[in-house]
């Protein structure tokens, strides 16, 4: 557990006034990042989130207040020892360009005195664990893509198996597709490792996605709200948080509501290569096409089939919801489907049935009636 107690950071102004009278970056912050959970600090620029993060490993010294890790005041520890015990991931990865991927990952274990061979064996495991090809180990950072570098950054932070990790905008330097992939893999990794993580981002969507709890900071380093993502979306404490959390929050909050068991309609399907007659025999304007394993491939407009169903005829706009997914995914599947029937698949990706938006809405209403303002925990 990382605990901030009345932590304030003032910076001396350029005019040379001393720190006591300087401008406030973080103002009397009291906060707990629980063990084994991800706590995300989010806020606009100037809210002191990065300053807060860097005070934990004493890259920045607090003006007043204490920060403790598992009950030990960080100010009382040897600074190098403290830092070696904390994993650190930053934007752009900050890899050492003159060292190979493998040597980057072994940095902290080597500083801690682990022998080279042991450190390398462990590093190779981690390189694979973060989803990199072991052949990458011999490469230099310049030979990797941004996403791969960020993976190495995560592996390097994990190398000495620190209980605590600090992450500063870890995924913001990569494109949205890679970002989502990295976020998902990071969550998977965290579910196995259970580190105590403090993460900084300016992106509320990332905060809501990654955080077990989210701390929204306002300019001047004041904590505005600390809550679960679901609670944050459902019940912002003031206009600032509401504004910052953004539009569509009612819809986005459905991400945290597990889909209940709803009765799905059986959907007649056709295979690729099905003839025009077979498609028209179904009798609906849009017909669902499935692959050999029963996985939904896309909708085909019956009137558009001249001879047979081909891949190019498939409409790909519809999303597929999982039976174990959220209400948001379910509603989105229905809304994005050209037929108005949302496709639902099981854990193995096989079609289970379809559902209409009008059938999802009662489930949303029922949830509101059952648990007013209660933050669901499903992820």
């Amino acid at each position: 557990m990382i605990r901030f107690e009345g932590v304030t950071k003032r910076y001396a102004d350029a005019s040379g006034t001393d720190e006591e009278q300087g401008s406030v970056a973080v103002d009397d912050l009291t906060l707990e990042a629980p063990t084994g959970k991800i706590t995300v600090l989010v806020g606009p620029s100037g809210c002191g989130k990065t300053t807060t993060l860097r005070m934990v490993n004493r890259m920045i010294t607090p003006t007043s207040g204490t920060i403790s890790i598992d009950g030990r005041d960080t100010a009382s520890l040897d600074v190098a020892e403290l830092r070696r015990g904390i994993g650190y991931v930053i934007q752009h990865a900050g890899l050492f360009p003159h060292r190979t991927v493998l040597d980057n990952v072994t940095t902290v274990p080597r500083l801690l005195g682990t022998d080279k061979k042991t450190a390398r064996t462990r590093a190779m495991e981690l390189i694979e664990r973060v989803g990199l090809d072991p052949a990458m180990a011999k490469r230099y950072p310049a030979q990797l893509s941004g996403g791969q570098q960020q993976r190495v950054g995560v592996a390097r932070a994990l190398a000495a198996d620190p209980p605590v990790m600090l992450m500063d905008e870890p995924f913001s330097a990569v494109d949205p597709v890679v970002r989502e992939q990295l976020q998902n893999e990071f969550l998977r990794l965290q579910s196995e490792l259970g580190k105590t993580i403090l993460c900084v981002t300016h992106d509320i969507d990332e905060a809501v996605k990654l955080g077990d709890q989210v701390a929204v900071l306002r300019v001047g380093g004041v904590l505005a709200q600390l809550d679960s993502p679901a609670k944050l979306l459902a019940d912002p404490v003031d206009d600032f948080v509401a504004e910052f959390v953004g539009r569509d929050r009612g819809y986005r909050a459905l991400s945290f509501a597990a889909a209940p068991e709803l009765s799905l309609a059986d959907e007649p399907t056709v295979r690729l290569g099905a003839g025009a007659d077979e498609v028209r025999a179904v009798g609906t304007p849009w017909v669902l096409c499935v692959g050999d394993a029963g996985e939904p491939l896309g909708w085909v407009r019956a009137a558009a089939v001249e001879s047979e169903v081909t891949r190019t005829l498939l409409h790909r706009g519809g999303t597929v919801a999982s039976t174990s997914g959220s209400l948001r995914a379910l509603l989105d599947a229905a809304l994005s489907s050209p037929s108005g029937r949302g496709v639902v698949a099981d854990g193995d990706g096989r079609l289970v049935g379809t559902i209409r938006a009008a059938e999802v809405i009662p489930a949303i209403e029922a949830r509101r009636d059952a648990a007013p303002a209660e933050g669901a925990t499903a992820r």
Binding site: A80, L82, I90, H92, G94, F96, H98, L111, Q143
Partner: protein, 213 residues
Amino acid sequence: MTWALDHLGDIVSRAGQHAWLAGLPLVLGLVIAVPLGWLAARQPRLRAVLLTTTGLLYTIPSLALFILLPPLLGTKILDPVNVIVAMTVYTVALLTRTVADGLSSVDPSTRQAAIAMGYGPFARFRAVDLPLAVPVIAAGLRVAAVSNVSIVSVASLIGVSQLGYFLTDGYARTFPTEVWVGIIACLVLALMFDLVIQVASRLLTPWTRAVAA
């Protein structure tokens, strides 16, 4: 050509002395410039003072330095130590800025990561900042090497044996061939220094040639 062949032994021996007088100061100058550059890169105020001072050293005319040093060092005027010390001063003058710039050129996120991983200031300098500054320092070293080879030839005016002798002697005897031999020998020597520095730099920085596969 025949003159050069006839005097080959003399040329080689003077070239050897020339290389020694230009090369040793290069090493000594680097050893002194690295800590100075490190200080300059760490402290903005020191940087201004250090870089201005060392920069001014380079403006002292070499002949004046060769003549002024013996009383300061307590050496004889013909002592090669004077030349070594003078050339070291010039090397430091050129390299301090280069080292400071090289160390400052390290990517802030790399430096930040090094600090956050628990490197102390000295360990970080040795393991991260200095290796990353090698390409910049090597570039400065190449300039200093060529400059040293050129300035050392002036020492023939105070009678220290090296390739500059062919320039003064050839001029005195109005014998252009000898002057040309001196110039070409200096050129070859400078190229050899350059080559050695480039090879060393390449060996130290395999990562600079790694490009996206």
